[in-house]
């Protein structure tokens, strides 16, 4: 047996004191982005499915644009761009949340917890990855739809706002998914949320303006924050630049994040306390 010591004997023994939560968050973000890039089988559907849905809607409901109450649009695609962005971001967020749950299931989360890293950076890193992917998706859908007749009337500035909104939506929805992952520790449970989120889109103005709805359906859509988010982004596409549209596009996802991220932090605290 060697003569050991309890005292720190290595040059790195105290180095964590000089570590920064910021660099830890960045490292965790990088990891979540690597996971996205290296799993095309998971990510491609989140890019293809919304486009397929938009194409289907466009071919089926193109004449609906003539209905009373329908805003004047170049094509049905212009109306559904915001919905495509949200669908893609929901897909991506569910994938991100499930990945966090898988970390818990496999024990990788424990590896992180056994290190002196900031607990919040584990969560924020994951959400930052979600946000970046959300922005990329928003830009992707916007750029893909332009050749198919979607004219972004707010110009490049509007595209930038939609891109940022995509990131903020990723953060907001990702917060809920992270909360679910931390609460349950089950990837299946996180994936089980997807239909619920998807249905919530149908109870909003994602595919048709609220003016064309009636009864309970319209009432729900009125209270559904997603309706207002869609309308903000939609106005940037079909009407042009307006302060109101920008505010709706950015503030509503921020508001969603203000609810979901504290929920995720609570779930994290609860998980750490339960241990």
């Amino acid at each position: 047996m060697s003569v050991g010591t309890i005292a720190p004997r290595a040059e790195f023994a105290h180095s964590a004191e000089t570590g920064h939560a910021w660099s830890q968050t960045m490292a965790m973000s990088k990891r979540s982005i690597i996971a996205i890039v290296r799993q095309p089988a998971l990510i491609i559907p989140s890019l293809i499915f919304p486009l397929f849905f938009a194409a289907l809607g466009s071919s089926s409901f193109s004449r609906a644009t003539q209905l009373p109450g329908f805003p004047k649009v170049d094509s049905f695609l212009a109306l559904t761009l915001a919905a495509s962005v949200l669908q893609g971001v929901i897909f991506g967020s569910v994938t991100g949340g499930a990945a966090l749950a898988v970390d818990i299931e496999t024990g990788f989360f424990d590896r992180l917890l056994a290190s002196p890293t900031s607990r919040v950076s584990i969560l924020v890193g994951r959400l930052a990855g979600n946000a970046l992917f959300g922005s990329v998706e928003a830009l992707f859908f916007t750029l893909v739809m332009i050749p198919f007749g979607v004219n972004i009337r707010s110009g490049p500035a509007g595209v930038a706002v939609i891109t940022v909104a995509g990131g903020l939506i990723g953060l907001g929805i990702g917060g809920f998914m992270a909360a679910m992952a931390l609460r349950t520790g089950s990837a299946e449970a996180v994936q089980g949320i997807f239909p619920l989120l998807f249905v919530s889109m149908f109870f909003s103005s994602a595919f048709f303006p609220r003016e064309t709805m009636k009864g309970v359906y319209r009432s729900i859509a009125n209270y559904n924050p997603l309706s207002h988010l869609y309308e903000g982004m939609r106005d940037l596409v079909i009407t042009g630049w307006s302060f109101d549209a920008v505010l709706k596009s950015l503030l509503i996802p921020i508001a969603i994040g203000c609810v979901s991220i504290p929920l995720a932090l609570l779930a994290l605290r609860r998980r750490l306390r339960a241990a």
Binding site: T5, P8, F12, A16, Q24, A27, R31, T117, A275
Partner: protein, 354 residues
């Protein structure tokens, strides 16, 4: 190790636990564990699945709060000073939880950031560790392509990135093939020789016997035996020396052996004696037989095994433990660089009666 005993304060022990408990509802997973692991020691935590080994390790590594009791690691309380503990320990948990999408290099870089290692030093440290665990050539491959043994080695490298004072290895060789297991044993010995205190959980008797300076046997959440393997075996009973001499010399040989302990039943044509002075008496026995003109044809020393210790302590045997290690018994007996490489009988089988 002896120098520390008797005068130690609890902060002198790299790992100290007193009355450590963890209950999950009515289940007492760990029920009053006391541990004092000395600096520079490899401490084996031996027990079957569900005995409380991993739960104890999770408490000692700050991953689980104790229901009651005190635990200090590297001089810090695992609850009150959890962050200080984390900076000083390396942890390789049971399932080698490694992200299969990342490469070995990337994971080491991530781990380095988590421990706040300066960027300038990460590259050298990673290279050094990859070389150490023999993964230099695979460093840029995704971990998903690694074999089980490679993952374990990478897991070990990750746990060493910050040069921890205390290393926790939770069943590090479970599921590994014999060669990978031996390689990991060697690495544990090397780390220990460099001064790292190691707490190793295992359900393999041979692993504990080969690596640990001291062991604790845990069963149903309680430590039922603790000490050096040799002491524990000695506590179970004296080793049996079995000799074979020509038939005509049996009576005289019996008389010689009687002075070293109680005669024990053996196969026909051989004689067995329980050496009351332990294995150290073997040279004296051989000398006495030689002086009496005996012609010893065969000699073997059968020590009580850890399985005997386990059985004595728990009332049951650690099922399949000897074979579960996957190593031939003879290989496990001396193990080349084994720490307790004392001279044994001519046909020593490593503790298992033959």
């Amino acid at each position: 190790m002896e120098a520390m005993s008797g005068t130690n304060s609890i902060n002198d022990y790299p790992i100290y636990a007193e009355g450590l408990m963890r209950h999950f509802g009515d289940v007492k997973a760990v029920d009053g564990v006391d541990l004092q692991v000395n600096a520079g020691e490899v401490f084996g935590f031996l027990g079957p699945n569900g005995a409380g080994k991993s739960t104890t390790v999770r408490m000692l590594t700050t991953l689980l709060r104790p229901t009651a009791g005190v635990a200090r690691v590297a001089g810090f309380d695992v609850v009150k000073d959890a962050d200080q503990v984390r900076r000083r320990i390396g942890v390789a948990l049971q399932d080698a939880a490694i992200d299969p999408l990342m490469t070995g290099h990337e994971l080491l870089a991530l781990q380095a950031v988590l421990y706040g290692i300066p960027k300038a030093k990460v590259r050298d440290r990673s290279r050094e560790l990859l070389e150490r665990v023999g993964l230099t050539g695979a460093a840029d491959r995704r971990v998903g392509t690694y074999s089980g043994g490679m993952r374990r080695r990478l897991d070990l490298a990750l746990s060493l990135i910050h040069q921890p004072t205390v290393l926790f290895l939770d069943e590090p060789t479970t599921g590994l093939d014999p060669m990978s297991r031996l390689a990991l044993w060697e690495e544990v010995r090397r780390l220990n020789a460099e001064g790292t205190t190691v707490l190793l959980t295992t359900q393999y008797l041979e692993e504990a016997d080969q690596l640990a300076h001291r062991i604790a046997i845990i069963d149903h959440g309680k430590i039922v035996r603790q000490g050096e393997p040799r002491e524990l075996k000695a506590h179970v009973g004296a080793p049996t020396l079995v000799i074979t001499v020509p038939t005509g010399q049996l009576d005289r040989a019996r008389e010689v052996l009687r002075s070293f302990g109680d005669l024990r039943p053996t196969a026909e044509g051989s004689l067995g004696v329980g050496l009351s002075a332990g294995a150290e008496a073997v040279p004296a026995v051989v000398r006495s037989l030689d002086e009496a003109g005996m012609h010893v044809q065969h000699l073997e020393l059968n020590e009580p095994s850890l399985d005997d210790v386990f059985a004595e302590a728990t009332g049951y045997r650690l099922e399949g433990a000897a074979s579960a290690s996957g190593l031939p018994q003879a290989q496990g007996a001396e193990g080349g660089t084994g720490k307790r490489g004392r001279k044994r009988g001519a046909n020593d089988s490593g503790g298992e009666p033959t």
